[in-house]
Amino acid sequence: MDLDALIGCLGSSACVVTQTTSGLIIGMLLFLVAVGLTLIFGVLKIVNFSHGAFYMFGAYFALTGYQLTGSFIVALLFGAIGAAIIGLIFERVFISRVYGRDVLMQLLVCYAFVLIFDDSVKLIWGAEFKSMGMPAAFQVPPWFIAGGVVPPFYILLISVALVVAALLGIGLARSRLGKVIRAAAHNPDMVSALGINTAMIYGSVFALGCALAGLAGALAAPVRSMTPGMGFSVLIESFIVTVIGGMGSILGALIGALLIGLIRSFGSLGFPLFTDGLMYLFMVIVLVARPTGLFGKDVA
């Protein structure tokens, strides 16, 4: 424990800016993965244990897109769309068969596909780790805001995640498709009886969730090395986020992810040997106080 370092940081604007930005970066990437997870659970009632694999696919597709075109925008599109296509096929062919089945069956199917997806990546891209490298546009010195260090690439990353959060929130609340999705989450039989193709809705939501995870992987690709199985550690933290925020809540995923990011960022200063422990401790406190999570009632 190094409380002096933490208190010293809180008294310095430069340190507060740097650590807050650091927390936002960690949180926003987590949000993109967790929001897909929570969206899929909210509508399909499926706990997608293979969700981390789509983060991995996103990173690898982005790498391929970047190698082919040299454009980071194309790389982002490759990552999101590639993960969405694989997600859609996965949902239609396999996941749709375990709707309404017990969670153990879902876990079994998802875990089997985690292994299959990891091996597929190994076959296609190789077992060795890979790095995309920072796009040329972002190979610039960091900005200094109130004395704190803020890399421009991370500003992009935070902005993209915020735009996605806003679009999702507004889209689900205001658009016709959003209303249909929310209705399907509450009462799929009634939605089906009204002549709406629920299978298409389910497939779309699953693909959207996977696209978000893929986008997170693509955004992380310039700064994180890629290996088969890279989605596992992200998945664990995403589950923590969704449990804290409340399964099925998009706002909960955003708040949960930001809290986890800030806990990691400031916790590494004050509790360097207990940063992970802080995360789990916070989850336990939230669950004891509100077993449904912070925003558990706000089903998408």
Partner: protein
């Protein structure tokens, strides 16, 4: 009078046959010792995050085995390698090692496991007495601790303590020259990271007593995001940073630290940087990172080493790794020992291997020695230098002083109660 008995074989013969059968099944390396080919078993890591190192170990062994077989084999017997994937799990490594000997009939073992698996394979070697050469574990205690000494096990690997002494000496010279007194460390939070960092700091302070460690960070092994550790180090404002991160973790760290311009704010010493696995993957490798040599074909700067690196690349379309040269050296030792013993018998080979010096492209002076007192490799090329973004990546390497390493290693062993 004619002696009569029951038809078929009697009880005594049955017991004798069963005993012989059981012995044959339990000790196939004895039963098959006269076979024309000799099988050598190799548990290593062929899947998971360390698969690249395990694969490069197998590749290096196969490269050398082809040469030995082309030259007539091991004491006249062609080598057949039996390589199995342990997935990096110690219990699986031990099970495979036992199976390779007892079921597959392997007469020798090359243990291509990381440290955790090597200790498990070592116990198998202790139990069944097969000749075993460890080729990847850098944990010093594997051979320094007398409790681990068995006559049939050898270690053909660089050692953490050797790297720390050479690294500490090199870093202390830079620290004195540039006035680097405030240091930070960032190493993976498991035995290798903790031990290597502690040993490096010990010898850094030994050679430069003014050095002070003002910040330590211990990210998890395979952690995806290092942002909080990068910013924590930036807050501490050290003049120099030491890291024992390796492989994908090291490249991620460099990518993430790069965008904070960390490498312009402090001197960075990353012991595992100068290996092609990391050097060729980082797209924006900063200039001037200090690193220990792992494997690069330009150090030692000899035609033999360059030729070996090129031959490996020509065959496998990628550069060898630190694990590659160690595994290749193990086969070179076996080949030379078999010539001297004119035998493939494990006990005879072990006798010859103890204290054996061979010509080797990876030797500091063109030779390496299997030191007799602890059956471990010494005399290999060891040094530190600074990186540049393109080949040869580490243009100049300052060699470590083996006399100094031996002297301080002896003191270290005494301090640990090993001698």
């Amino acid at each position: 009078m004619t002696k009569t008995g029951k038809p078929g074989i009697n009880r005594r013969t049955t017991l004798a046959l069963m005993g012989a059968g059981a012995f044959t099944v339990a000790s196939p390396w004895v039963a098959r010792a006269q076979a024309k080919t000799i099988k050598i078993g190799m548990p290593t890591i062929l899947s998971g995050r360390v698969a690249q190192l395990g694969t490069s170990s197998r590749n290096a062994v196969m490269l050398e085995v082809e040469k030995v077989n082309a030259a007539g084999g091991l004491a006249g017997r062609q080598i057949e390698m039996v390589v199995r994937d342990s997935k990096g799990q110690p219990q699986e490594a031990a099970r495979i090692a036992r199976e390779l000997v007892n079921t597959d009939g392997c007469e020798l073992l090359i243990d291509g496991e990381a440290s955790s698996g090597s200790f498990a394979v070592h116990e198998v070697a202790r139990d069944i007495g097969v000749l075993c050469i460890h080729t990847c574990s850098e944990a010093s205690s594997l051979t320094a601790d007398p409790k681990q000494h068995i006559p049939n096990a050898f270690r053909c690997v660089r050692q953490g303590i050797h790297d720390s002494i050479a690294g500490g000496s090199y870093a202390a010279n830079i620290a004195k020259a540039k006035g680097l007194k405030k240091w930070a460390t960032c190493s993976p939070d498991y035995a290798y990271g903790r031990d290597t960092t502690a040993e490096f700091v010990t010898y850094l302070k030994h050679f430069a007593p003014d050095v002070e460690i003002i910040s330590e960070t211990w990210p998890k092994l395979f952690q995806p995001d290092y942002t909080e550790t990068v910013t924590k180090i930036l807050q501490a404002k050290p003049q120099a940073l030491y890291s024992a991160l390796w492989g994908g973790d090291l490249t991620s760290y460099i990518d993430q630290a790069n965008i904070y311009a960390m490498f312009t704010q402090m001197e960075v010493f990353a012991v595992n940087m100068a290996d092609y696995t990391a050097l060729t993957v980082v797209k924006n490798l900063p200039k001037g990172i200090h690193s220990g040599n792992r494997y690069i074909k330009t150090y030692p700067a000899t035609a033999e080493n360059a030729a070996w690196g090129d031959a490996y690349k020509a065959k496998y379309k990628e550069y060898p790794t630190n694990w590659s040269w160690q595994n290749a050296t193990a086969v070179m030792f076996l080949s030379e020992a078999a010539k001297k013993a004119n035998s493939t018998d494990g006990k005879k080979l072990a006798e010859v291997l103890t204290g054996l010096t061979i010509k080797c492209p990876f030797g500091a002076d063109g030779t390496v020695t299997m030191r007799g007192e602890d059956r471990t490799l010494v005399g290999y090329a060891i040094g530190w230098g600074t990186t540049i973004p393109n080949e040869p990546y580490v243009p100049e390497v300052k060699s470590g002083d083996w006399k100094q390493i031996f002297a301080l290693e002896a003191e270290w062993k005494k301090s640990k109660g090993y001698t």
